[in-house]
């Protein structure tokens, strides 16, 4: 009887100690485990785990950093946008549609140097004809028709595509220009899809 009591007491202490001694891993410790769990494959190397300041802040704040931090990140992003040197905003909306439909690019299954798509339809509605569209981003149907075709909206749209964080620090959208996903010519074509009055987006 006495022995049973002693054993129970010991296990009770062990249980309490087990709870009390749990210390969550630090961010750095977790990051070390995460790093050791990935490997290079094709064009996707482990250096992709090196977070930018913005990625880090957005990850750690639930995509909702304090106002001053958010404004600083947005300002930095806008300052780094490369606008078209020749002032030519719009390309071919038909080519833009093709880019919007294509989802390949920068995956380990993609060939090095192969042109990436914009995959706009993954997240946005664009034309009336394409009914297979996602809803992570807002509908862009009638984008130009609703907003006008002036230079201000063209400049805003270019910057939004180049680096979405210029207007929303922790937006989910990729940085198509800043991260080198699309070329300037490709962005011109996507611009035309949105802002050419003849584009199916604006019908």
């Amino acid at each position: 009887m006495k022995k049973t009591f002693a054993l129970t007491a010991v296990s009770a202490v062990a249980v309490v100690a087990g709870c009390a001694t749990y210390t969550p891993p630090t961010k750095e410790e977790s990051m070390a485990v995460i790093r050791s769990s990935f490997q290079d494959r094709g064009i996707a190397k482990v250096d992709r785990l090196n977070q930018t300041e913005l990625q880090k802040i957005c990850s750690e704040t639930g995509n909702n950093p304090p106002k001053d931090v958010r404004e600083r990140l947005e300002k930095q992003a806008l300052a780094a946008v490369k606008f078209p040197a020749d002032g030519k905003w719009l390309g071919d909306h038909k080519l833009g549609e093709r880019i919007a439909q294509t989802g390949v690019g920068l995956q380990w299954s993609d060939q090095p140097g192969a042109a990436a798509g914009g995959n706009c339809y993954a997240c946005h509605q664009l034309t009336k004809a394409e009914i297979s569209y996602g809803n992570i981003g807002p509908s862009l149907y009638n984008y130009g028709k609703l907003r006008g075709y002036g230079d201000d909206i063209k400049r805003y749209t270019w910057a939004k595509i180049w680096n979405t964080h210029a207007y929303n620090a922790c937006s989910s959208m990729p940085r198509f220009g800043d991260a080198g996903i699309l070329t300037e010519d490709q962005i011109r074509n996507v611009m035309a899809l949105l802002l050419d009055p003849n584009s199916p987006v604006n019908q």
Partner: protein, 275 residues
């Protein structure tokens, strides 16, 4: 296997027909979503994964490997040889290796220690390629998960290492990185999101987390193959534009632990069949 591919082909044709039937207009997407749902219902009629359950059971019970042993003494958490309900309680801490393991990690451990297979060879190609025969890991996983059908998901959080796995998995889930700035949570942390017409489960809510977690592994009709949870994680990171997660690495086990804890109470319904 011929019957299997015929069935997949027929199902694909039904989907194509359904897509054609959907007409233009504001409700076109709703109609299409309904047709896809109908297609998913039709798929439930017969699951080719049933064949793999049989093959997996045979592999589990047959004496194989350099040590000529079966896996019937493999302890996957409920004691040596206990398979029923075990998958639903994984990942968990295993004292013999002093670490948290998911099912696939534990299976590899048993194939190495009990049967004498070479670990390097096993982890080199755990997933079957297009048109290839399913790997032994995939077949055995199918058999074992089937033995948990109807069991409640109960990924334990008792041992400090189980808690640490959850905490690291959570950090990984919310970590934005790579050229597209994507985290798991970009797609799986908001209600009602879709990529194209594909619904994305929100792992911050119990119901969608349960439904998603409880239906992997699954037979993927579009690939004509059974895909495991480790594959599901791998292919998410590919589309996230991240480097490749190493098969059964700590990070993948941590992430599966996080997802499993979020899905607590869900009823296992795997192997499922998906588009």
């Amino acid at each position: 296997m011929r019957a299997v591919s015929d069935r997949a082909g027929a199902a694909g044709a039904v989907l194509a027909a359904a897509m054609l039937l959907a007409t233009g207009g504001a409700s076109a997407q709703d109609n299409t979503l309904q047709e896809i749902e109908r297609y998913r219902q039709m798929l439930q009629d017969g699951n080719p994964a049933e064949l793999l359950v049989v093959r997996g059971e045979e592999l589990w019970k047959t004496k194989r490997g350099p040590k000529n042993a079966s896996l019937e003494q493999c302890d996957i958490g409920l004691g040596p040889g206990v398979v029923k309900g075990a998958y639903a309680r994984l990942p968990r801490y295993f004292a013999d290796v002093d670490q948290v393991m998911d099912f696939e990690a534990r299976l590899v451990h048993c194939m190495v220690t009990l049967q004498g297979f070479d670990r390097g060879a096993l982890v080199k190609s755990p997933f079957s390629g297009a048109g290839q025969r399913q790997t032994d890991i995939e077949s055995i996983t199918t058999f074992v998960v089937e033995q948990s059908r109807g069991a409640s998901v109960a990924v334990p959080q008792n041992h400090p290492k189980e808690k640490a796995a959850f905490d690291r998995g959570k950090q990984l889930f919310y970590m934005r990185a790579g050229p597209y700035d994507f985290a798991c949570s970009t797609c799986h942390g908001v209600d009602g999101q879709r990529i194209r017409l594909q619904d994305l489960p929100n792992f911050e809510k119990p119901e969608p987390a349960q439904r998603a977690f409880a239906t992997w592994p699954a037979y993927r009709v579009s690939q004509g193959a059974l895909r495991t949870m480790q594959w599901r994680i791998n292919d998410c990171f590919r589309q996230q534009r991240w480097p490749e997660p190493i098969f059964i690495s700590q990070g993948t086990i941590d992430l599966i632990t996080f997802l499993g804890v979020k899905a607590a109470g869900g009823k296992m319904d795997s192997p499922a069949i998906k588009r």
